[in-house]
C-alpha cells in the first residue's frame, strides 16, 4: 500500500516544532521505523508530519549530577557504537546492538521507540529496569516524568497533545552495579516473545526486575526486587513473582517468561 497524502516539515528549532504541532495537530516523526510502516499501511493518516530528527535539543548528550541526559533523537546505532559515555556498565550498548538489524538501528531512535511504546520493543523494558526519567517539552515548557508513569500500556504513553519527548535521563551506575538483560525472538530482528531486564545498584537505590513483551507496558516483579542481593531467587520464587502479576498467560508463554527472568538474573548475578 501507499501512504495517504500528508505534508512534511522539518522545523529548525524545537519551539517551531512545538508550535507547528500545537497549531496543526500534526504527528512527530523521528527515525520513521515505526511511523513509516504505519503510514504505508494507512494505519496512520496524519495531515502533517513534523520531523524532529535534526533538532539540537533532541540530539547529543550531557552528563552531570549523577545522570546522563540522552537526546531523544539519538539512534540505536549511536548507542551501540559507543557514541555516548558508558554509564550503564555496557548495558545500553548491549541492548541497542540487539535491536532489529543494523539498517533499522541507524535510523530508529530511543525517543521514537519509547513514544511508540510497542510492548515487545527493547527500550521500554530496558529503560524501565534502569529507572530512567523522561524529559518532555510542550509549548508551556518542559516537565520530567519517571518511566513507570510514562509507559501506560500497549502503544499508550503519558504525553499530552502537542508534547514531544526530548531527552532520557539515565542514572550513572556505581561500580558495584549489576545488570542482566535477556530477550527471546523467533528470529533476528523479530519482535520479542519475552524480555527480562534486571538492574541492581543499591548505591543509586535501583533494585529492578522488569518483565516485558507482555500485552501492555512492562511490569516490575516486586516480589523478586525485594529480595535482590540475597542470592539468586529460585525457580519457585520466580514463578510466584510472575504469578503475582495476575496475567493469564498461555502455558508456553509462561515457560518463556520464567526462562527469561531466570536467565537475566543469572546474567546479573552469575551462576
Amino acid at each position: 500500500m501507499k501512504a495517504a497524502k500528508f505534508d512534511y516539515e522539518a522545523p529548525a528549532s524545537l519551539d517551531e516544532a512545538l508550535s507547528r504541532l500545537a497549531e496543526n495537530g500534526g504527528k512527530p516523526v523521528s527515525g520513521g521505523q515505526s511511523m513509516g510502516p504505519m503510514l504505508n499501511m494507512r494505519l496512520a493518516t496524519p495531515d502533517l508530519l513534523v520531523d524532529l530528527r535534526r533538532l539540537d535539543e533532541l540530539n547529543g548528550y550531557s552528563q552531570g549530577d549523577g545522570k546522563l541526559v540522552v537526546g531523544a533523537a539519538v539512534t540505536h546505532a549511536q548507542v551501540e557504537d559507543g557514541a555516548l559515555p558508558d554509564v550503564t556498565k555496557g548495558m545500553m550498548a548491549s541492548v541497542a546492538s540487539d535491536i532489529a538489524y543494523r539498517p533499522v538501528r541507524t535510523r530508529g531512535t530511543i525517543g521514537g521507540s519509547l513514544c511508540h511504546a510497542d510492548p515487545a520493543a527493547d527500550w521500554p523494558s530496558a529503560l524501565t529496569a534502569l529507572d530512567a526519567t523522561l524529559v518532555v517539552a510542550g509549548t508551556g515548557g518542559t516537565r520530567r516524568i519517571g518511566i513507570d508513569d510514562f509507559l501506560l500500556g500497549a502503544f499508550a504513553i503519558a504525553l499530552n497533545e502537542g508534547e514531544v519527548l526530548i531527552a532520557v535521563e539515565i542514572p550513572v551506575l556505581s561500580d558495584a552495579a549489576r545488570w542482566g538483560y535477556f530477550k527471546f525472538c523467533r528470529k533476528t530482528g523479530e519482535f520479542a516473545e519475552t524480555i527480562c531486564g534486571v538492574v541492581f545498584d543499591p548505591a543509586n537505590d535501583i533494585r529492578r526486575v522488569v518483565l516485558g513483551a507482555l500485552g501492555g507496558a512492562p511490569k516490575r516483579l516486586g516480589e523478586l526486587e525485594d529480595r535482590l542481593g540475597d542470592g539468586i531467587p529460585g525457580v519457585n520464587g520466580i514463578a510466584a513473582a510472575i504469578d503475582a502479576l495476575d496475567i493469564a498467560f498461555e502455558p508456553a508463554q509462561l515457560v518463556m517468561h520464567n526462562t527469561a527472568v531466570r536467565r537475566a538474573l543469572r546474567q546479573a548475578f552469575g551462576s
Partner: protein
Amino acid sequence: MSDSGIGARVKRKEDERHLHGRGRFVSDILLPNLHDVAFLRSPLAHGRIRGIDIPDDLKSQVYTAADLADVTPVRAVATVPGFKASDFPPLATDKVRYAGEAIAMCVARTRAEAEDMVDLLRPDLEELPAVCDVEAAVQSGSALVHEDWGDNFFLDAVVGGDLGDLEKTAPVIVEREYKMARQVMNPMEGKAVLAHWDDTASQLVVYTSTQVPHSIRSGLSMCLGLAEEKIRVIAPDVGGGFGYKCILQPEEICVAWLALKRRHPVRWIEDRREHLTAGANTREHYYKVKAFADERGKLLGLDATVTISVGAYSVWPFTAVIEAGQAGGNLPGPYAFGKYRCRTVSVATNKPPFTPYRGVARPGVCFAMDLTIDAVAREVGREPHEVRAENLVQPEQMPFTNVTNKFYDSGDYPAGVREAVEKIDVAGIRGRQQQGEPDGRLIGVGFATYVEQTAHGRPVFGAWGIAVVPGYENASVKLTADGGLEIRVGVQSHGQGMETTLAQIANTELGIPLDRITVIHGDTGTTPFSTGTYASRGIVMAGGAVATCCRELIPRMAPIAAHFLQCKPDEVRLEGGMMKGPSGEVPLADVGRAWYLRPDQLPEEINESGLEVVMGYKPGIETGVFGYATHAVTVAVDPDLGQVEILDYVIVEDCGTLINPMVVEGQTYGGAAQGIGTALYEEMPYSPQGQPLASTLADYILPGPTEVPKIRIFHTETPSPYTTHGQKGVGEGGAIAPHAAIGNAINDALKPLGAEVGETPMTPHRILDAIQAAKAKAAAE
C-alpha cells in the same frame, strides 16, 4: 567434460544483469499514459454483496463485476469423477468467498490515488458464516462456500484400497496425526501485470509476472473472448514464482480487460500486504496416518486420510484437486510396501484459492511419511535411519513400480541415506547425546528421504483431465549469419538459470561457445509454444527440445559445409564447433554467412529448410523421471524456550546428470531455505471468522540469512535412461524434505522427554506445548 558444456560449473549468464540491478521486471516497464490499478478487496471471508456505493465523481474510474459482464469467469475443470467445478469471477459477483477477494478496481494516475479511491468505496456486504475449519466444513449443516453444490467437497477420493488383514495381523501399528500450516509463497516479486493495446500489431500486449506465458494467453483468450493471435503475453524478468505464478490470475484478466476498455496502458503491482492476505493459498494439509509394520519396522502397509483446505475456488488450469491427486499418489514416496489406502478430501473453505507450491503436495506427504517412519523406528527401538534405509526401494529393484503405480526409473535410494548418515556423523551425535550439552540444550538428528517426480506429462495430467496438459515441448534454434546461436523456448526462466543451462546443452551439442548463445524466453510473440515452467520440467523438457533442435541443425548445415569442403554431406561431421570434412574444416560462421547473406555461393540443389529449426520433444517416458535426495539435519532444542537451532545440514541429492552443478545447488539451497521456513517459521493463521492474521512480514515470519544455516550438498549422478542427457528435474526438491528432517531431528532431541511434534511450523510455542503435554502425561501415568 568441456569447460562450458554439460557438467561445467559456469556462472549464470542472467546474474550479470541481476547483480547490477539491471533486471527488467513488470514494474520497471513504463509506457506513456500508464495508469495504476488498486483493488477494493473483501473485508469479509464470506458475504453476500448487496451493492457497492461509488461516489458519483469516481464512477468513470471504478469498475465492478457489472462492468465485466462480458468476461467469462474462470472455470477450471478436471474430469476426475466426483469433482465439482467452481466459477471464479475476476471480480466478485453475488458473493465474496474469501477475505481479500477483489470486488472492484480503481484506476488512477498513481497507485496512491487509486488507493485513495478504494478508501471511498462502500461495499454493502451481508456477512455469512465463514467456512474455515475443514472438520466443520464437511459436517452436514455447515455453511456452504458454493450453495449449489449442497456440500463443501471439491472432491472426496480414495487411492488404493485393500489393506487385507493388517489391522489384525501387523505386529506393529503406529498412528499419528500431522498438520501443515497454511502458507504464503512470498516470491521476492509479487504478482504484477501491465497491459496495453498495440495498434501496430493489432494485439493486446500483456506483460505479466508469470511462469506460464503461453498458458496465460490461452486463458485470457478464453475469458476475454479474444482470439489468441490477438494477444501477446510477455513475461519479462520474473522474481520467483514457486507455483504462485503458474495459474491464470483474476488480476491478469481484470487488467487485460481494462486495457481493452480504456485503450491506454494500465498496470497493477501486487504489494506484500495483498500478497499475504489475499494470496495465502497453499499447503494446509491434515493427515491421519496408520502404519502397519513388522517387528523390525519394515512397513507392511499404510492407511491414511489427507484433508486439504483448498479455499474458495478451483484455479486454472491446475484445479482444486491436483494437490490431493499428488498427495494420494505420492504419499508412499521412496518406500516400498505392499498395501495402501489413502482417502483424499479436498474441502472448499472461505480462504484464497489453493495454488500448488514448490513441491506440490510432496512437502506435505514427505512430512507425514518420514515422521511416521521415525515413529515406527522409535516404536521398535531401532535407529531411524536404518529403518528408513531398509524400507526404501532397493537398487536391485530398479526400475520399480510402486504401490500407486509410479514408475521409478533409476537410482540407489539407500546409498543416499548411508552417505548422509556418514556426512552428518550420526555416531558422533549419539555420543554427544550421551554426554549431554553444557548449556542444557537437547540435540537431535533427523533424516528425510524423498523422490521428486519431474517432467511428468500426458499420462499424469491427462488422467486428471485438466485444461492444459503438457505433451510435446517445443524449442527453436537458429544459427546466425556469423555462427552464433539463438535459442527460443516457451518455458519461462525465473531463477532456474535456464538462460545458462540451455546454452550449456547447446554448447555440448554444437560446440558453439556460451557467449555466442542467446536464450530467448517468456514471450508468446517470439517463442514456440510451451505450457510453461512448473513440475520441475524445464531442464528435461526444454533441455531435451533444445538438444533435439541442435541435432536437427547438423544435417541442415552439412550440405552447405560439404560444398566448401568439396566432399559429400555425409562425410561432414561437427567437431569442436567446426564442420570437418576429409580434408579441412569450415567454421559455422561460414555456413551461416553463406546461407543467409551469400546464397549465390551455394549450389542449386541444397536443403532449403534452412538453419532455423523448430522441433517438439518428449522424453522416453511421460510418467516422469524421478530424482531423489536425503536431507539430514542436526538441531539443538532449548527445552526452556522451545527454540530450535540448526547445527548442521546435509543434503545428498541425485538429479541424474548435472547440467550445471552450481545451478542445481542454487535450486537446492533456495528450496531448502523455503523448507526451513515451512519447518520453523511460516504460518498464516486465520481467525474463526476467516480473517488472515499475519498481514505483514513482521507477523508472517520468513527465514532470513541468520536462520538459514550453511548447507552441505553432496551429489550423486544416476543418469535417467529416458532423457536426452540423463538429466532429471530438480527445481522443487529442496523444498520437499527440510521440515520432515527437522521434525525428525526435533523429535529425536525431545525423545528423552517423551515429547513429539507433528505440526508445522514447529514454533517455540508448539514445542513447549509438546513438552508440557508429555510432562502432564508422565505425571498422570
